[in-house]
């Protein structure tokens, strides 16, 4: 059965079909009185699968890890640097795989590189991702230097690698914030009312989430002695993520509702617990590798949950015409009132 | 109309855009109702009561177009003093014979013509041979007469008879019978009458559903009476438009695929009534009759010349005896019953799917399963070709594939874009189609099929000495062929239809050129002129923007490329247009001829003041103001003194199956309806018979825009099937509540013939009506589905029994009674038990059938 055959909700298109959010969730917004076409969505739900939600996480992790790696490189924390660079590379690999896989025509992924289009966050993101990938790749490649022979042509290369790695790492770090935050623009620049309304906040959610996950990777991968900045970043990122997410969940009127109900609500509640617990662990477990590792894992899981939560909220918002119609109606009423 | 004729409906929308008011009267709110200015729901089967109410309103308020009515209709004509109306006889007219269930129409005649009744005492024979239609179309042999009272005061003049007959069709009665509120009824009357007259005209449009009633012909007669009273006939913007069910259904009555007619509405000879050529011709015309039917002999001789060529000679009565003869009822339903009874061995189906499309589908399938052979020509393997392996009767065990002896020959057919020829649409306009592409594979055109079938049959009997083969051996069967499959040339056939002068081969330009001496040949007299000047006039496609608004150079309309029939009536008796706005044809005194926008439907140079000599007959007998030139008295008939089996005036009778007692008369249903009382054709009881409450609801069927009739052309196409993918039934919210039906759930509809399941659409577009203090629920079903195709479902036509209109033998398949229940129907043999249980509860058994004459009627 095609999507069109999803059972129509009750109603004849004349009077409101559904009121409020229902589903047992606490309704913060008064029940919305609205009309629709058989309760069908006005906009299309995203065709993106969970691959894209996963990419939000892996891309953010890559960015965060690259930042950690660059800081570690500049401040002489080799273990943290290696962790950061390797994590970034692994996350990049996953990202590339997820992005290509989610295309309707994966064999045509290179078509993204035909154009650079400022109005398309995905086009911009493609170039950011490419630039970052190149730099982060070099940085990660530099980490193989110690295993290379010191003689001959290869040896020459091996000796040049650390310097190249630093350049690559710094270049990656320079593009990392863009990689971490462009995805917020990617989601916001849609007709999806929940995503679009969140555009002032979503970059901070994703920035915080990326920092928290990057820090968490450092906490897991590097000894506690070197991982101080990672812990600090993790805590700061978690704080930013929690604050910004709270705004998304509560400061957008009716359009906050999709973030609180259903699958998105469950995911974002879990994200809050995990992120808060991870941040606490990062603060309290500074001397314990075990606590640090557990805290890091919690932060990573929290970051994953945040990303999936935001993704699911968009689906919820698309599936119920209320979220499209009511805010637009209010906007019209305000305009007419003005 | 929007529902089944969306393309034609564009002109209604165009008219609406220009300010026309559109009123839609229908039991169910359709896509037409959605854009109409006014929608009037009424009970299925109550149309004569509704239209009778309009007639009464016009007459009581004297809103008729008096000058038109006096001059052009038979309103002033005085009827025999022997005539008794339904008012006097409890719903029957005088002359009813209970024995035959038919009328002897002697007393219906005009005064002084009682000695000239057609077919005295043979009403039942006429019914069996559907001869009523011929008589109606021809203008039966009514002699010209002078018994008129143009003051319309004579108590037996048609006007007064009409007034008395319809006096009881008051707004209150309309409300009581039809369920139409008096206010709404008043609005329709106002709109219709105020929009008719000198300056304005109103068009009446009906779809063929109107004909599918046991009183179908009288439905249309009711409309005709109103349009004549209001002066809407023969005038631009007026008329009665019959929307046909398929492309060229008009064509298939002009050059008929009907058992009772020959081309040009000449009757099929009856073995007893038309023993000789002379008797046959005299049955078509009457020696003392006015008008163009008086020339029937020229039409008949020319047709026989077209059939038999050189073998049609004066000595052998032009080959008249080669023609087969009717011996009785050979209508499609009689044939099906005869198949069940083993009396018919072979059957041709051409573009027809009776297993789905005809009333009483089960009888259709059982009949076909009892044949020796069956030829099906269609685009797809339709249900009528595969019934022997997948009909519903396989499941019930009534047809067993291994035992079914019918040999089916499936002949794949070319579609309309794969063959050339003409379509004739409802305006009688022929439009030539080119062949766009070759048909695929073995698909062939009808023309190819019949030409080569005839050729092969003739080869088989070439040396036969049997008398019965002589006609076929002598038939003119020579047509040019071309192409790899020897396709006959369709334009050669059209030329033959047009007719030609035999000596010179010159194509005729009009039927007025036809001769009765064997010097002309013409395949269909009314089509004569379609190949005038050797040019295929039907192929003309001059855009409307490049010619007059009547657009005479687009296609060709019979007769004589005339776009409005009887258009003499568009001018007043003196030949002056009724108004500037409605000028159409008029008398040009200077030139001494009729002229105008259209081809005048009148002798070109006969002045309006012309009065024939005493005793003049035929065309010469027409006065200069006899606008209805095909009628025996030159008048439009408000009252039909002859030609109808079931009475001179439309009268409300209940459908054969009705939950209601006739509120107007003691007589319940049409007393002359054609019935087949047999156990496999049980009709649900109607009052005053007992147990009608077993089938408490009224149902009707029709089409959806998205499908075409029995679905053979639409259920095979994904783009159409997806738009209406499943059989459904529409019920009102009130009925859904009463019967526990859920929107989108399953339900099944039960009659004495079948149980049919469907998904439920609960919709306010169907509404219960208050009839006579009772709530009457109406159910609607589309009839497009069957067992094969991309989308399948039960066939609504299985629900109907067989009762026919007596004039034309068309089945009553737009109204019946039923029950509806939630859930799916039983399957397999249990289905038969289920229906049998309903029959038992309804008291239906083989020993009793409702009498034609209701006890108490006729008094």
């Amino acid at each position: 059965m095609s999507r069109k055959s999803e059972p129509a909700r009750a109603g004849n298109g004349h009077r409101p079909q559904r009121k409020g959010g229902g589903r047992g969730d606490r309704v913060m917004v008064p029940p919305a009185d609205f009309r629709s076409y058989y309760g069908r969505p006005v906009i299309k739900p995203p065709v993106w699968t969970h691959d894209v939600a996963a990419y939000l996480f892996t891309g953010g992790l890559a960015a965060g890890a690259a930042l950690v790696a660059a800081g570690a490189d500049l401040t002489g924390r080799p273990a943290l640097r290696v962790t950061g660079r390797v994590t970034a590379l692994a996350a990049l690999g996953a990202s590339g795989y997820l992005l290509v896989k989610d295309l309707g025509r994966p064999e045509r992924f290179l078509n993204m590189l035909r154009v650079a289009k400022p109005t398309s966050p995905m086009s911009m993101g493609t170039w950011i991702f490419s630039a970052f990938s190149a730099a982060a790749g070099v940085a990660a490649a530099a980490e193989v230097a110690p295993w290379l022979p010191r003689d001959g042509a290869v040896g020459l290369a091996a000796r040049a690698l650390p310097a190249a790695g630093r350049v690559g790492g710094l270049a990656a770090a320079a593009t990392a914030p863009a990689l971490a935050t462009y995805t917020a623009v990617l989601f916001s620049d849609t007709a999806n009312p929940a995503w679009h309304a969140a555009y002032p906040r979503l970059p901070f959610v994703f920035a915080g989430s990326a920092l928290a996950s990057g820090g968490a990777a450092g906490m897991i991968g590097a000894p506690v002695r070197e991982a101080g900045p990672a812990r600090a970043l993790a805590v700061a990122g978690a704080a930013l993520e929690l604050t910004a997410t709270h705004g998304v969940e509560h400061r957008m009127g009716l359009l906050s509702e999709p973030y609180r109900i259903g699958k998105a609500g469950r995911l974002l509640r879990a994200a809050r617990l995990l992120t808060a617990a991870g941040a606490a662990g990062a603060l309290l477990g500074a001397r314990s590798r075990v606590v640090s590792t557990l805290a890091g894992a919690a932060l990573l899981a929290g970051s994953v949950a945040t990303r999936f939560g935001v993704f699911e909220a968009g689906k919820t918002a698309a599936e119920d015409p209320k979220y499209t119609v009511v805010p637009q109606r209010e906007r019209l009423a305000a305009r007419e009132g003005a | 109309m929007a529902e089944a004729h969306p393309v034609g409906f564009q002109w209604v929308m165009e008219a609406k855009k220009r300010g026309a008011t559109v009123i839609h009267v229908d039991p169910r709110f359709t896509r037409t109702s959605a854009v109409a200015d006014d929608y009037v729901p009424l009970r299925v089967g109550s149309d004569i009561a509704f239209l009778g109410g309009v007639i009464n309103y016009i007459l009581q308020n004297e809103l008729d177009f008096r000058e038109y009515v006096v001059a052009y209709t038979n309103a002033a004509t005085i009827v025999s003093e022997d005539f008794q109306d339904t008012e006097d006889l409890g719903g029957l007219f005088s002359g009813y014979d209970e024995e035959t269930g038919a009328y002897t129409p002697v007393s219906w005649q005009y005064q002084g013509h009682e000695e000239h009744p057609p077919s005295r005492g043979e009403g039942h024979i006429q019914r069996d041979t559907a001869a009523g239609l011929q008589q109606e179309v021809h203008g039966p042999p009514v002699p010209a007469g002078k018994n008129r009272d143009e003051t319309l005061q004579h108590p037996r003049c048609v006007y007064q008879i009409l007034k008395r007959h319809y006096a009881r069709y008051t707004p209150e009665v309309v409300e009581q019978v039809c369920g139409v509120s008096q206010k709404q009824f008043q609005r329709v009357c106002d709109a219709w009458t105020t929009n008719s007259g000198r300056d304005r005209t109103t068009a009446l449009v009906y779809s063929v559903g109107w004909t599918q009633h046991s009183v179908g012909v009288q439905y249309i007669r009711s409309g005709a009476i109103i349009q004549l009273l209001l002066g809407n006939m023969g005038r631009p913007g007026g008329g009665i438009m019959a929307l046909r069910g398929h492309a060229s259904i008009q064509g298939s009555t002009d050059i008929p695929t009907l058992f009772n007619l020959l081309p040009g509405y000449l009757p099929m000879p009856h073995h007893k009534q038309h023993e000789t050529f002379e008797k046959w011709v005299d049955a078509i015309r009457h020696p003392t009759q006015k008008g163009f039917w008086n020339n029937a002999r020229t039409y008949a001789v020319s047709l026989l010349k077209a059939y038999f060529g050189e073998f049609a000679t004066e000595e052998n009565d032009w080959g008249y005896n080669y023609l087969p003869r009717l011996t009785g009822d050979h209508g499609t339903y009689r044939q099906v019953l005869d198949m069940i009874d083993g009396k018919i061995k072979g059957y041709f189906l051409l573009g027809q799917n009776p297993a789905v499309g005809s009333a009483h589908g089960r009888a259709q399938r059982l009949g076909m399963a009892n044949l020796e052979w069956l030829v099906v020509r269609d685009l797809y393997m339709i249900e009528s070709a595969t019934f022997w392996k997948d009909s519903p009767e396989i499941e019930t065990g009534e047809i067993v594939t291994e035992e079914c002896a019918t040999e089916v020959f499936f002949m794949p057919a070319a579609s309309h874009v794969e063959k050339e020829g003409t379509f004739t649409q409802t305006q009688r306009m022929l439009q030539w189609r080119e062949k766009a592409l070759d048909p695929p594979g073995d698909c062939r055109s009808e023309l190819w099929f019949f030409y080569h079938l005839g050729r092969l049959v003739r080869e088989r009997i070439a040396t036969s000495t049997l008398e019965r083969d002589r006609g076929m051996r002598n038939i003119a069967w020579s047509y040019p062929t071309s192409g790899p499959h020897n396709d006959p040339d369709a334009s050669a056939v059209l030329k033959e239809i047009n007719g030609y002068d035999i000596a010179t081969s010159r194509p005729l330009s009009s039927y007025t050129e036809l001769k009765d001496d064997g010097s002309t040949s013409c395949g269909c007299w009314i089509y004569s002129g379609v190949y005038a000047d050797g040019v295929n006039q039907a192929a003309r496609r001059k855009p409307g923007s490049e010619q007059s608004w009547v657009a005479p150079e687009w296609g060709w309309a019979w007769p004589a490329n005339r776009r409005i029939l009887y258009n003499r009536a568009s001018a007043d008796p003196q030949g002056v247009p009724w108004s500037e706005k409605k000028a159409y044809v008029w008398w040009d005194a200077e030139k001494g001829e009729w002229t105008g926008h259209d081809n005048p439907d009148f002798e070109k140079t006969k002045p309006p003041s012309f009065r024939p000599e005493e005793g003049a007959v035929g065309v010469a007998g027409l006065r200069g103001d006899d606008a209805f030139i095909m009628q025996g008295d030159g008048k439009g008939w408000l009252y039909a003194p002859a030609g109808l089996i079931d009475g001179p005036l439309p009268t409300h009778y209940e459908p054969a199956e009705s939950p209601l007692r006739n509120p107007l008369y003691a007589q319940q249903a049409n007393p002359t309806r054609k019935v087949y009382d047999r156990p496999d054709n049980q009709l649900n009881p109607a009052p005053p018979e007992a147990h009608s409450q077993v089938f408490p609801y009224v149902f009707t069927t029709s089409r959806l825009t998205e499908h075409h009739t029995a679905g053979g052309m639409s259920r095979q196409l994904a783009y159409l099937s997806e738009l209406q993918p499943a059989m459904f039934v529409e019920v009102s919210p009130a009925l859904a509540e009463e019967r526990g039906l859920r929107h989108m759930g399953w339900a099944h509809v039960i009659t004495g013939r079948a149980a049919v399941e469907a998904r439920v659409l609960v919709t306010a577009r169907l509404r219960p009506l208050r009839i006579d203090g009772r709530t009457i629920h109406q159910i609607w079903l589309p009839y497009h589905w069957g067992g094969s195709g991309l989308v399948t479902g039960d066939s609504a036509n299985d629900l109907f029994g067989i009762t026919l209109d007596p004039n034309v033998l068309i089945q009553e398949s737009k109204v019946g009674t039923c029950d509806i229940r939630p859930g799916r129907r039983p399957t397999g043999p249990a289905l038969l038990d289920y229906i049998a249980d309903y029959l038992r509860r309804a008291g239906l058994d083989a020993s009793h059938y409702a009498p034609l004459e209701t006890p108490g009627a006729g008094e």
């Binding site: 629709s36 006005v42 025509r105 086009s123 917020a184 901070f204 | 409906f9 006014d38």
Partner: protein, 310 residues
């Protein structure tokens, strides 16, 4: 980007896209007041564009079994059965009309108030509307397409090149009308092309060609807008106060639609957004916020590492 209104505001899209001497902008005016719901547009569109069928599902939404515009349905006829009058305001006008009819109706033809006849007890409306891609002046789908598969034609329409589209699906979420969609099993995005291959040859798009009642009118957008305004006026005069245009206004949230409508009820009743805005309108602001967030990240990293020697 060609001008200050490239993301939002009135503009000629073909010129903005860089066409020099572009032909007039072409579009659809869909007048739902004369739609008879025959769906010829749906079928003609599929026939011409070889769009696959959309499945055989009975939806129970009046006579709508297509459900919505999708990758496999580029024209979609909505059916709305309303068993109550449209609005109090409309009712007032109808009552007024009825009053004037009953006082003036002295055997005159009803042309003084065409359409008003009989409406007072019409308790059922069946609205039909053939929906289609809006070919927005500011098209969200086109803005966000990362491959250039979507492009602005010289006629100002928005068309997908199926040989370029890689099925990223971004356009699907970017359309404020829910029009463009990805086709299952094919992976690419599809929508109405306004019959780009026909109009380039001077032909009428298949749907408009097939429409028997001129509910779908194709032509130069400027001319269509004039025509539509007049039609609304006529309907208002004829006692149809609920008639209104949708998508005709170049100052609306998408800069006006290339395909606009005359509706008889609120847009959302037909499944249309009441006040659509192209998402890209806010793109500069989005990037600004993202920039601040990015700087915040960088700052956080700097602070975290500075002064923390191992």
């Amino acid at each position: 980007m060609a001008g200050p209104n490239s993301l939002f505001g009135p503009i000629d899209p073909a010129t903005d896209a860089g066409y020099v001497d572009a032909p007039p902008r072409m579009g659809f005016f869909t007048d739902t007041s004369v739609c008879i719901g025959c769906k010829a547009c749906e079928v003609a569109c599929k026939e011409w564009n070889a769009v696959p069928d959309d499945g055989f599902d009975l939806l129970g939404m009046s006579y709508d079994n297509s459900g919505e515009l999708s990758a496999n349905t580029w024209r979609h006829v909505a059916f709305i059965e309303q068993s109550a009058p449209p609005s109090e305001a409309a009712l007032d006008v109808l009552r007024e009309a009825e009053r004037s009819v009953s006082t003036q109706f002295l055997g005159m033809p009803s042309s003084t108030l065409p359409g008003a006849t009989g409406r007072e007890d019409r308790d059922l409306r069946w609205l039909m509307m053939s929906n289609v891609c809006k070919h927005c002046t500011h098209a969200g789908c086109l803005d966000v397409c990362p491959t250039g598969a979507l492009f602005r034609s010289e006629f100002g329409t928005v068309v997908v090149q199926e040989d370029i589209c890689n099925g990223c699906g971004y356009c699907v979420s970017a359309c404020p009308y829910g029009v463009i969609d990805r086709r299952e099993g094919d992976g690419r995005a599809w929508k109405c092309t306004l019959c780009y291959d026909r109009i380039g040859e001077g032909m009428t798009p298949a749907c408009a060609q097939a429409c028997p009642t001129q509910s779908i009118q194709y032509g130069e957008l400027d001319e269509l807008r004039d025509r539509a305004a007049k039609r609304v006026e006529v309907l208002h005069q004829r006692g149809v106060p609920e008639a209104r245009l949708y998508g005709h206004d170049p100052t609306d949230g998408v800069g006006g639609d290339g395909a606009f409508f005359l509706l008889l009820d609120e847009p959302e009743v037909y499944g249309l957004p009441p006040d659509p805005v192209v998402p890209t309108r806010d793109l500069p602001s989005m990037w600004k916020h993202a920039g601040v967030a990015a700087l915040t990240m960088a700052a956080a990293v700097a602070v975290a590492f500075l002064g923390r020697r191992p």
